[in-house]
């Protein structure tokens, strides 16, 4: 078996000095290349810490984080990130926002000026994929919340990251928009060679999208169980109403309730 893209081994992470809060403890997690992993758990279980550890924004006090065969000691730059807050820069058009990572990532920043047209075309293809064709020259604040979140996904994907980290990206959206964007993410994952880690509170979302659902304990967070999602791909929204689906959601719900009670 090939080496996993992300490997987190026995990681402890404490904030605010030696007496600070222990956010995660004894964390172990492996993510294979191309896999879609959802991380769920009670609030404050260190899901966001997990994201920051994987992307190299935080370096753990003990334990090892390995991403793409090398130990993480600084930000890894093969990741794209998207948060619940779209954080589009209001003085840039949507297209310019999407191109922003290319101005940062070492591999692209020196090519950007000379190959602008090529990158713009790529951004426009991405916009089309998420259903925002023709909105590139609009400013982000002229878009609805759901559209901004779509653009946010484009920005996270423009530099072709190997790993896409999503931190509750659909948390602030209404139910219909959220389901639409589930399908967008599902199709992106199917069509592109990308590994996705999705941190979420929404258990239906995790089961609908992921290959593997990881349940974390209350703080200090660690992985208490991993569930392989058995449903065939491509998955349709009808799946949400099938008994087997709801059974799995219910089981996860029970586990998290137990984890909460244990805290």
């Amino acid at each position: 078996m090939a080496t996993p893209l992300v490997s987190i081994e026995n990681v402890d992470m404490r904030y605010g000095g030696p007496d600070g809060t222990l956010a995660v403890s004894g964390l172990n997690l492996k993510i294979e290349r191309g896999e879609f992993v959802a991380v769920v758990g009670p609030s404050g279980c260190g899901k966001s810490t997990l994201m920051k550890l994987t992307t190299g924004l935080h370096i753990p006090q003990s334990g090892v984080v390995i991403v793409a065969n090398s130990q993480v000691t600084k930000p890894v730059s093969i990741v794209g990130m998207a948060f619940q807050n779209p954080t589009m820069l209001p003085w840039r058009t949507t297209l310019e926002n999407i191109l922003l990572p290319l101005e940062i990532v070492e591999k692209h920043r020196h090519r950007l000026r000379a190959h602008k047209a090529e990158y713009v075309a790529k951004a426009e293809r991405l916009l089309e994929t998420v259903g925002l064709k023709g909105f590139g020259d609009k400013f982000p604040w002229q878009l609805s919340g759901g559209m901004q979140q779509r653009a946010n996904l484009c920005r996270a994907l423009i530099h072709e990251p190997e790993l896409l980290m999503l931190d509750e990206p659909f948390g602030a959206l209404d139910a219909f928009t959220r389901e639409e964007l589930w399908c967008v993410i599902r199709d992106l994952h199917a069509s592109q060679d990308v590994t996705i880690v999705l941190v979420t509170h929404d258990l239906r979302e995790s089961v609908f999208l992921a290959d593997k659902v990881v349940v974390m304990s209350a703080r200090p967070g660690r992985v208490i169980s991993e569930h392989v999602v058995p449903f065939e791909r491509p998955r349709q929204l009808e799946l949400l109403y099938e008994p087997a689906f709801n059974e799995m959601v219910q089981k996860l719900h029970g586990e998290i309730a137990t984890a909460r009670a244990a805290a």
Binding site: S77, V79, L89, P90, E103, Q142
Partner: protein, 271 residues
């Protein structure tokens, strides 16, 4: 929006041919009103011109002394704008420097607040000792009084970058410089241009204070000497000219602000 467009041609009643836009007109009407109240009030109270001249008397003085008023107005405008420009450069520089890191921000902020608390009129004698009377102390006073709001606003803009934005960029390998150039500085621009409106008004305060205390020219000096000759209408004429210059520069700054950072005024632009 489209529904309104399709419906109005049918349903709209014929618009009245002449309609007064009271909102557009009100600045003019209120100003005229103020002068009328002033005129009537002074006439009714019977105060002499040497205490409180009527506006008509003040306008007479403006016409009568136009040459010195014009010369001194230009001088005041010159010292003010020069001090203001120095304040912009220094304010931007210091603001960016302070906003760069939390440590510098924490260390320098109390010093800046302390400095700002010093009445600038108290500094004029020191400036006179250093530079003699005249233009230089006026320029420097205008600068000293007006750079603080610029510094504070620029630093605030930098210090309030959303942590998520910073995370997204840092995860891509962005250096501090990248984050400053791509996010921090554009983000602080509305704060900066907003602060210019405050700063230009303060710059006038600074230059006039200095001219009044230690200068041979400028509106401040002109008013001081007019006052010592009991030429009160000329004092009021000077005040009026200051008000006009202040309004003009403020309007210019407001226009610049709107031009440069239209995205920050999106609620009004969207309509």
């Amino acid at each position: 929006m489209s529904t309104i467009e399709t419906v109005t041609p049918v349903a709209a009643p014929p618009r009245p041919a002449f309609k007064v836009n009271w909102v557009r007109l009100s600045p003019l009407l209120y100003t005229v009103g103020l002068f009328v109240i002033w005129e009537v009030g002074v006439r009714l109270s019977g105060l002499p011109h040497t205490i409180f001249p009527t506006p008509t008397r003040v306008f007479e003085a403006i016409v009568q002394y136009w040459s010195p008023i014009w010369k001194n107005s230009l001088q005041t405008l010159y010292t003010t704008v020069l001090g203001f420009i120095i304040a912009i450069v220094a304010g931007l520089g210091i603001g960016l420097f302070i906003g760069w890191s939390k440590t510098i921000y924490a260390g320098l902020y109390p010093i800046m607040v302390g400095f700002n608390a010093i009445p600038k009129v108290a500094l004029v004698p020191i400036l006179v000792i250093w530079f003699g009377i005249g233009t230089v102390p006026a320029v420097l006073t205008a600068f000293l009084i007006s750079f603080f709001p610029i510094v504070v606003n620029v630093a605030t803009g930098l210090a309030t970058i959303e942590p998520e934005t910073e995370d997204v960029l840092r995860a891509l390998g962005a250096k501090k410089m990248d984050i400053m150039l791509k996010v921090g500085i554009p983000r602080s621009m509305p704060y900066f241009f907003g602060s210019l409106k405050v700063a230009i008004t303060l710059a006038f305060v600074g230059s006039v204070v200095s001219e009044t205390v230690a200068s041979n020219s400028g509106l401040g000096n002109m008013m001081a000497s007019a006052q010592s000759n009991f030429n009160v209408p000329l004092v009021f004429a000077g005040l009026l000219m200051l008000a006009v210059e202040g309004i003009a520069m403020y309007a210019l700054m407001a226009w610049v602000e709107k031009r440069m950072t239209g995205w920050a005024h999106r609620s009004t632009m969207a309509q």
